[in-house]
């Protein structure tokens, strides 16, 4: 099980790789679309990368509820392992 810090760091790496977001900017309160300029298709790429890295499944209907970096972190925490 990854800790909250590990999840945040891992998510930061994915955001940098997929959407060119500077990891330091990926703080929990940031909205993917509003603050980090991540579009809906990049969200799909982030979801599949998160699935591979943390072993969680993020169905498309759940993906719509993940608006902020914090939402993603808590989703992974709840569903990992």
């Amino acid at each position: 099980m990854a800790s909250t810090q590990e999840i945040q760091a891992g998510l930061g790496e994915i955001l940098e790789e997929v959407a060119g977001v500077t990891p330091a900017d990926a703080t929990p309160e940031k909205s993917f679309t509003e603050d980090l300029d991540v579009d809906s298709l990049s969200m799909v790429e982030i979801a599949t990368a998160v699935e591979d890295k943390f072993g969680v499944a993020i169905p498309d209907d759940e993906l719509g509820n993940i608006k902020t970096v914090g939402d993603a972190i808590s989703f992974i925490e709840k569903n990992q392992g």
């Binding site: 579009d39 809906s40 298709l41 969200m43 799909v44 790429e45 979801a47 599949t48 498309d60 993906l63």
Partner: protein, 322 residues
């Protein structure tokens, strides 16, 4: 018991000629931005399209199919009499009866061909190619004309910016004939019917709706296997592929697939979507025709193609370009 006699077909089949038809009207992103809430930057970053072609009233499915088919026949060097099958692949037929295959054949001077329409969404061209490849090798057909033809603007809601910026019109055709040296590999095809409503013409409105995120995820994660299967069945690897021409649905899907395949630097990647939009079953033959006309691809090149779309369906194969 009387034995039912069988026919002997050709050892292999190959594409003898390709041809395309692009509608006259060119629609740029700036023109769309005057019609709906969108802009060039938004469209280019999401789907990679700079412009597309929209068919006029006189550019019907049959007229476009005849134009593309005629060019493919001319390029093949065959006489229309030597063709005995016509398959018209189209996903958005507004008027399904009668099918257009027989009329397209008649208009091209092909005498009484086996003719029908095939709807496998945007995968229709590759499904058709798989079928005629097998029919030629089984001896049911000597030469076949396959046309992918679409007027997606007929079934697109021009106030829905998620689809109106993407879908377009056009036709692309291939003449396929028997050959000693196989020029079409075994097809790798299948479907994921559990996602049948991810792309559909909605009952009531008659307009296409698409679950963009679901389709994007499917295309970028589930189709890589089909691409490798097509190469494996043909006995080739990524290092042998000269041209990669997947269905032109979204430039980001094209790039994602190319990256996952690990193609060599020299492989030419079809990006016809930039100037043509998504023309569904017409996109692969249109893209191949364009690459040959511009000289980016040449006769004898080995191409990997994959059609995929509504159904959800997919079909891919390795081809030798004519």
């Amino acid at each position: 018991m009387t034995t039912i006699q069988q026919q002997q077909g050709a050892t292999g089949a190959r594409i003898l000629g390709l041809g395309g038809y692009r509608p006259r009207r060119r629609v740029t992103n700036d023109e769309l931005a005057r019609m709906m809430d969108t802009n060039d930057e938004w469209i280019q970053s999401r789907v990679g399209i700079a412009e597309r072609r929209w068919a006029g009233e006189d550019e019907t499915l049959v007229e476009m199919a005849v134009a593309a088919g005629g060019k493919a026949i001319a390029a093949s060097g065959l006489d229309p009499d030597e063709i005995d099958m016509v398959v018209a692949a189209s996903a958005g037929l507004k008027h399904p009866i009668p099918g257009i295959g027989p009329l397209v054949g008649h208009r091209l001077g092909i005498k009484r061909p086996g003719a029908f329409d095939l709807n496998a969404g945007c995968a229709g061209f590759c499904y058709s190619l798989g079928l005629v490849n097998d029919a030629i090798r089984a001896g049911s057909v000597r030469n076949a004309l396959v046309v992918g033809v679409e007027r997606l603007t007929d079934v697109t809601d021009m106030s829905d910016r998620s689809t109106a910026v993407i879908f377009a019109d056009g036709a692309g055709a291939a003449v396929v004939g028997g050959s000693d040296e196989p020029g079409i590999g075994p097809v790798a095809w299948g479907s994921d019917g559990d996602q049948h409503n991810a792309i559909e013409i909605a009952t009531g409105t008659g307009f296409m709706v698409m679950a963009g995120q679901a389709v994007y995820r499917w295309a970028t994660t589930k189709l890589t296997d089909a691409l490798f299967q097509a190469m494996e069945r043909a006995g080739v690897g990524p290092e042998d592929i000269d041209v990669f021409a997947p269905h032109q649905a979204n430039l980001r899907i094209v790039e994602s697939m190319a990256k996952k395949l690990g193609l060599p630097e020299r492989t030419v990647i079809a990006r016809d979507i930039v100037q043509s939009g998504n023309t569904s079953a017409a996109s692969i033959p249109l893209a191949l025709t364009e690459l040959l006309e511009t000289g980016e691809a040449k006769s004898g090149d080995l191409a990997l193609v994959l059609g995929y779309g509504a159904g959800l369906t997919f079909a891919g194969q390795v081809l030798r370009l004519p």
